[in-house]
Amino acid sequence: MNPPLKVTSKPKMFTKKSPALRIDEADLKCKSKSGCDFFGNPEWDGYCSHCYRKERERQHNDQKKSPNRGESGSRASADSPLSLSVAKRFNKFEEKKQQQRQQQEKRNKFSKLASSLRKSTSIRETGRLPEPWLEQSPEVERIKQDYASHLASLSPEVRQLINKYIQGLCRTVCADANNMSIDELSEKVQKFYQILAQCMDAHNVNQELKESVLDYCEKFTMTVLHRNLFCPPTTTDEEKDLAIQKRIRQLNWVNAKHLDCCINETSEEVRDLVYTSLTDLLGMDSEKAPQDKLQAVVKCCRNIFLLLQSSVGGPASADEFLPALIFIVLKANPARLKSNINFVTRFCNASRLMTGEGGYYFTNLCCAVSFIENMTAQSLNLPELEFEQYMSGEVVPTSTWDSALMMYEGISLMYEHIAALDDMHKRADSVLEGTELLQNTMKKFVIEMKLNVEDILARTQITFNSEKVPTDIDTENPLSELLPPPIAPQVVMSGPQKMQSTLAYGKESLNLPGITKYAFPSDSELDALGTDSTPVDGVVTLPMSDSQEFLLTPSSTYGFSSLDELATPDELCAAQASLNFVQGLSAVNYEIDISDTCSDSSAGMSPHPPSVPMPEQKDSNSCLPEETGPASLLDTSESPTSKLLPSPIKPVVPGPGGDSGEGSSPTVMNTTAEDTDEVSQQKPLEPTANVSSITSSSEYQGFTAQGWKIQSIPCDTGPSDLKSTKRTKGNATL
């Protein structure tokens, strides 16, 4: 006797009895020969539950084969070509489920095998009851630990009682799992729950503790007995699982629109929620205790409400919720859906869990499943033909959820990449900007540093030299002593008169193309040479020959500060202005005063001193001359206005003219090429000249006399000057 045959053949007999369209009541009655008055049920082969059990027991005694029925048949149906073709289009969720299902099938087979083995052994070694609840899995251990504190707060008496109940239930269920119908088992378990509750009521356990203890008992027993009670071989649960799975796979094409379900598929948030509710629903199968399964359903449904909320824009009602749940069930196609639903309905503590929120959602899930089972073209508002085409897989709707999902995934990935690219662009830009900024600052810094260094070099150079110079001065002093002392008195007189002539001359010289501004003083010198007395000339030439070293000597002695200050253009201008003013206003007399004052302040007064031997004029000139001396020369080199300047110089310059008037002029011409050099040369030169002249004039004439001899030196030291001028030039640009 093959069990599968039994299943299929008996309903046939049952239907054969009623070929007519109208079904007699007798046909619906239990077909037991004993004339039972209850109604039969096709699930129980047309028997009522009572007779079915009896019949089964009888058969059991007849043949002690394991009731492994319907396996091969269902497997064949699952592997139909249609389901295979559908399987190709599975998305990842369905793949996951597939794996789950396969594993589950293996496990099922295994457990069946194990149970049949166990039974055979238990039959052989009667008296020794198998006690699977004693072989405790880690899950059971975990449950025990979770509720340890709650159990500890129970009185030992109650705890003992509860343990006794639990053991009793486990034992009976294990023993009778294959002999009892599932409904009887369910009834037993429900009774067990009731007894527990009453037991706790009787011992005045408070409500909260009672709830948690009930929770524990349910979890513990159901986890231990899961293998015996979940999808037991005595039921057709497994076939139903496969049937609904196949059905859902066939309905793969159904999308939200067909169900009038307002899921906003384009929103990422909603899509995420769809995914989470899908996984929640799939998680139902992995839980063992019925309340955990129920909790998974509740979680799933709450997520559905959330996604409806963001899709609809307000709290959703049942009219929106049910289609959404149907949609989720269709897309999730949970493994062993029917078994799970049946398990929860049978073994969940109905009085506690089925009335609340969990019950509501579970009922909705049942509705969804029943809707899916009975789905017709009408219920989707589709034409019959179209529905048939979709169901047979002939036509695939273009906008299936799968393709949409795939597209969305691709698009969302693209958006992510684009966003990442944008971010990188921005970063690169900012980096570029930063580098530019850094480069600029570096450039600036370099320039600044250069300037600073040059500035400092220019200054320090002077100081350095100054330190070296003093000794030179001493050495040279004897030479300068040779310079003619009489210069001053002679120039004073002629100075003003010749100034104008020299001025005119100077202008012409300035205009000359080849000759630079600086040639001009030299010209004046020339003029002076021609006209003025020789001694003056000697004074002027002296500084030229000295080079920097000589120049510095006076500054060191009389104060560097003045010299440095002179370097700044502003001061120079001021100095020039003052000079002009002085020149315009005053006669040479004023200039003469400088000689005296310069000894006090600085070398600035240089230009005039040659003409200044007079002691009386101190007061008036004291302030002016300081800067004018060098300034005037500088100005002449730099600006056209300097034309006016030569006038003071003249008095100075003319002196040397007498000596090497024509000899010196050529040198000047030569140097004009390097006019700037000369400028620098002369600027510093003058003060020194002054000093020398001053000293000579004021203190002793021997000095000036020496200077006169030095005249020859400048020509030799020409090249060395170049360097110094360059530096000063740098300074000027600063």
Binding site: L308, D319, T355, C366, F371
Partner: protein, 197 residues
């Protein structure tokens, strides 16, 4: 996740205002415990006090669409009370309500039926005339042993009263059940011994 003491089902066609009725009742500040949140809008539990005792009403909203009509039986299974709603301004909804009631009577004998005509405010304001004569409905409800109420979720008219009435009516049978359960308890003791042995 705790159970509710009484299960109350809302039945009726689409757009008659089942959800609004529930929302009105739940979100009304009156008698609402602060931590009692509404979970979605399809299921709500609310604590009601009646005759000096507290009870939890679990209110189930259902999908009224015709296509889910076949599943309604799952919803009202074990319900203590059913509020069958119809739109006062729509004749069709009253006819549907009659269908629900006959079905309820057939499947759930213990379920109390409350016939509820909604959108009373629309009729009162004269926007639409009542499509069903008040007397006829009253007569019908008496005939089936149901309570008839006209409510308005907009103004809150009769909403709280309806649910309070349900709570009051539900208490009595529950006390009977309690007696039964005590009896069961005594009988269970013997059976538990069998289990243990």
């Amino acid at each position: 996740m705790s159970g509710a003491d009484f299960k109350v089902v809302l039945l009726g066609s689409e757009d008659v205002g089942k959800t609004s009725l529930m929302k009105r009742y739940i979100q009304d500040k009156f008698q609402c415990r602060p931590h009692q949140n509404t979970i979605g809008a399809a299921f709500a539990s609310k604590t009601v006090s009646t005759r000096g005792r507290q009870f939890v009403l679990g209110i189930w909203d259902t999908a009224g669409s015709e296509r889910y009509y076949a599943m309604s039986q799952l919803y009202y299974r074990d319900a203590k009370a059913a509020i069958v709603c119809f739109d006062l301004t729509e004749r069709v909804t009253f006819d549907r309500a009659k269908q629900w009631i006959t079905e309820l009577r057939n499947h759930e004998e213990n379920c109390k039926i409350y016939l509820c005509g909604t959108k009373k405010d629309v009729v009162d304001d004269g926007i639409k005339a009542s499509a069903v004569a008040h007397e006829r409905v009253l007569q019908y409800s008496k005939g089936i042993g149901a309570v008839y109420m006209e409510t308005s979720s907009k103004t809150g008219l009769n909403v709280a009263e309806l649910f309070q009435l349900i709570a009051d009516d539900c208490v009595l049978p529950s006390s009977n059940e309690r007696n039964e359960s005590i009896k069961l308890h005594s009988s269970k003791k013997s059976s538990s011994c069998c289990l243990a042995s």
